[in-house]
């Protein structure tokens, strides 16, 4: 199967400070990320705060410019496109942001918000435009009567529905969902997740689902990428990750999620220390200072992401 989106050696460094006499600091948000996303799948990306998962989502659709690397969308390198062409291509891939209170212009009503992508990319105007907006709103579970209301009049869940309607207005093939449920109440999270699942089946969408919530990712993803300090450390199907995690970090991460059964006990892996600063990542494997299985080689050599069978990729010296 051909990948819909391929990222190769995707790297993003943010420069901080500078000034006259301060050393320029570089935040290594994303380092040498290779990723294939296949049509129709949901690829979940998990990791702690600051591990670069949001940066990955934004670089993939070129909302921020990667420092290095390539992103192929249907075989076309997005990073080589000029601004006008990129703008046209954007109707193919959309994004839903974490906080709908911030991602919707407070001065626009729902009609303005949802028709914005349609006005930008299509010739729909007047009646036809309003019809399309109504159709979209109804599809995401809102009603006609909401058309002339403003963002501050809605709850978080409703706002996220509006944001989803905006993202789907142009029938994209690929949607980056950047923690679309983490600003919402638990009960609303489930509604939004189910809506996203339904829409995926109905419209044949491909998702990149970014989250720090393992249970959410498990629920929605076909494949999962685990990130640590700007790198993908493990990549496999949801099944492979959850029942056969090979990377020590993934194992530790999984052991931290509470089990729904109060009687069940599991051995928790407590990682010592904190995540190292991406300003100054450790040499070798970036996880080695906290790893409970570290080898001497981990401190010197950076492990590559290798296939351990059935397209299950792990970056660890322990795993051969």
């Amino acid at each position: 199967m051909n990948a819909l989106l391929q990222a190769r050696q995707l790297t993003k460094h943010f420069s901080l400070g500078g000034g006259w006499w301060h050393r320029r600091l570089t935040v290594r948000a994303l380092e040498w990320v290779d990723l294939d996303i296949y049509p129709g799948e949901t690829l979940g990306v998990v990791g702690e705060s600051g591990c670069g998962k949001t940066t990955l989502g934004r670089c993939l659709i070129r909302l921020i410019e990667p420092t290095f690397g390539e992103v192929f969308f249907r075989g076309e390198n997005l990073l080589k496109l000029d601004r006008a062409t990129l703008r046209q291509r954007r109707r193919e891939f959309q994004m839903v942001f974490q906080n709908p209170y911030l991602s919707l212009d407070p001065r626009m009503n729902v009609l303005d918000l949802v028709e914005e992508p349609l006005r930008a990319h299509t010739d729909l105007r007047g009646r036809a435009l309003a019809d399309r907006v109504t159709e979209l709103l109804e599809r995401v579970g809102l009603a006609r009567e909401h058309l002339y209301r403003y963002p501050h009049e809605f709850s978080g869940g409703q706002l996220q529905r509006i944001a989803i309607a905006r993202a789907l207005a142009l029938n994209p093939v690929f949607v980056v969902l950047d923690e679309p449920t983490s600003a919402l109440d638990v009960s609303v999270q489930a509604q939004i997740l189910n809506l996203l699942k339904e829409l995926q089946v109905e419209l044949g969408l491909t998702y990149l689902f970014i989250s720090h919530d393992l249970s959410v990712v498990q629920y929605i993803s076909d494949r999962i990428a685990v990130m640590y300090l700007g790198r993908i450390v493990e990549l496999g199907t949801a099944e492979q990750i959850f029942s056969n995690a090979r990377h020590p970090y993934t194992q530790a991460l999984l052991s931290s999620t509470p089990l729904p059964d109060p009687q069940a006990r599991r051995s928790r892996i407590i990682l010592p220390g904190d995540v190292p600063s991406p300003l100054n990542p450790p040499p070798g494997c970036s996880f080695h200072p906290r790893c409970f299985q570290a080898l001497p080689v981990c401190a010197t050599d950076e492990p590559r992401l290798i296939d351990v069978g059935d397209n299950h990729f792990v970056a660890c010296h322990r795993v051969r």
Partner: protein
């Protein structure tokens, strides 16, 4: 009594399109008595200025014909606000002066906003060399004391009412550029702007649909506060002979002439000063209310 625990039905909340939104603005405006008072004051001044020849007892004096016999008359039945140094009725002079002062105050600010706001939005949004060029240009204008610059421009253009107005506006726009640029810089980083980019909205459209509506609040407040200062600057220009030419009335000019006679004829300086004060105050308060009404969030707030 409404039965406990029984749904009474959906609130019918469907709202009609645009005109309903305007209706809401009007309702919010009507609830705001300060705004109503301010608007009435402004309308009253405009009304008296517009119909000055019919509303004043001595229209020819309002236009500048002297009446030396009645110099420095205190307020009386004949001259409700007294007379000035050439014996002209102050009521007539203030009504006629409103024509020049109100237009200077209003037009200067409008021109300055029209030049300054787009430039500031462009500078802040695009950044880089565009920002650099625009901001250095504003720096050049701001480097001169503004009154001196206005005087220089007016002197170059020749003394007249229009030229004075243009000259003042040309020294005024950089303030709006800086204000709007600063606002735009912070707006640019907001997620909803990033979202618009992600959707593929053109940059010009982003400026018009997202940046400008969101920077209008501080601009509006600043603009209404500036109307009073613009009237005063116009007065300063008239005072040194570059603005409104003498027989024509102008509040600022009346204040500058009248202050010399403050001890003996306090009414001469007080009434035109009061006019400037009232107009500035009214525009200020009105601007405050418009800011609240223009924002869909505060528009709906129940007072």
């Amino acid at each position: 009594m409404i039965p406990f625990g029984q749904a009474v039905g959906e609130w019918a909340r469907e709202r009609q399109p645009l005109w309903a939104e305007y209706g809401l603005m009007l309702r919010a405006f009507r609830r705001d008595w300060l705004a109503l008072v301010s608007l009435s004051i402004i309308i009253a001044f405009i009304f008296f200025a517009a119909f000055a020849p019919w509303l004043t007892p001595y229209p020819e004096q309002g236009r500048g014909v002297p009446n030396i016999a009645e110099r420095f008359q205190p307020p009386s039945r004949l001259h409700p606000l007294g007379t000035d140094d050439l014996g002209r009725d102050l009521w007539a002079r203030i009504c006629f002066g409103g024509r020049t002062s109100l237009s200077i105050g209003f037009l200067v600010v409008v021109i300055a906003v029209l030049i300054g706001t787009p430039l500031g939005a462009i500078a802040g949004f695009f950044g880089g060399w565009v920002d650099e060029v625009i901001m250095r240009l504003t720096d050049i204008f701001l480097a001169f004391p503004s009154l001196l610059l206005a005087i220089a421009i007016a002197a170059a253009l020749g003394p007249s009412f229009t030229n004075a107005m243009v000259a003042i506006a040309l020294t005024w726009w950089p303030w709006y550029t800086r204000l709007v640029r600063a606002q735009t810089l912070s707006l640019r980083e907001r997620t909803f702007i990033e979202a618009a980019r992600g959707i593929g909205v053109k940059e010009g459209t982003i400026i018009f649909r997202h940046i400008l509506p969101n920077v209008m609040t501080p601009v509006l407040v600043q603009a209404t506060m500036d109307i009073g200062s613009a009237i005063l600057t116009g007065a300063a220009m008239s005072f040194i002979g570059l603005g409104v030419q003498p027989p024509t009335a102008d509040w600022g000019q009346m204040v500058s002439v009248g202050r010399v006679y403050f001890i003996n004829a306090p009414w001469f300086v007080t009434f035109p000063g009061l006019a400037i004060f009232l107009v500035s105050l009214a525009f200020n308060l009105l601007g405050d209310s418009i800011r609240d009404i223009a924002d869909p969030r505060t528009r709906r707030a129940v007072r």
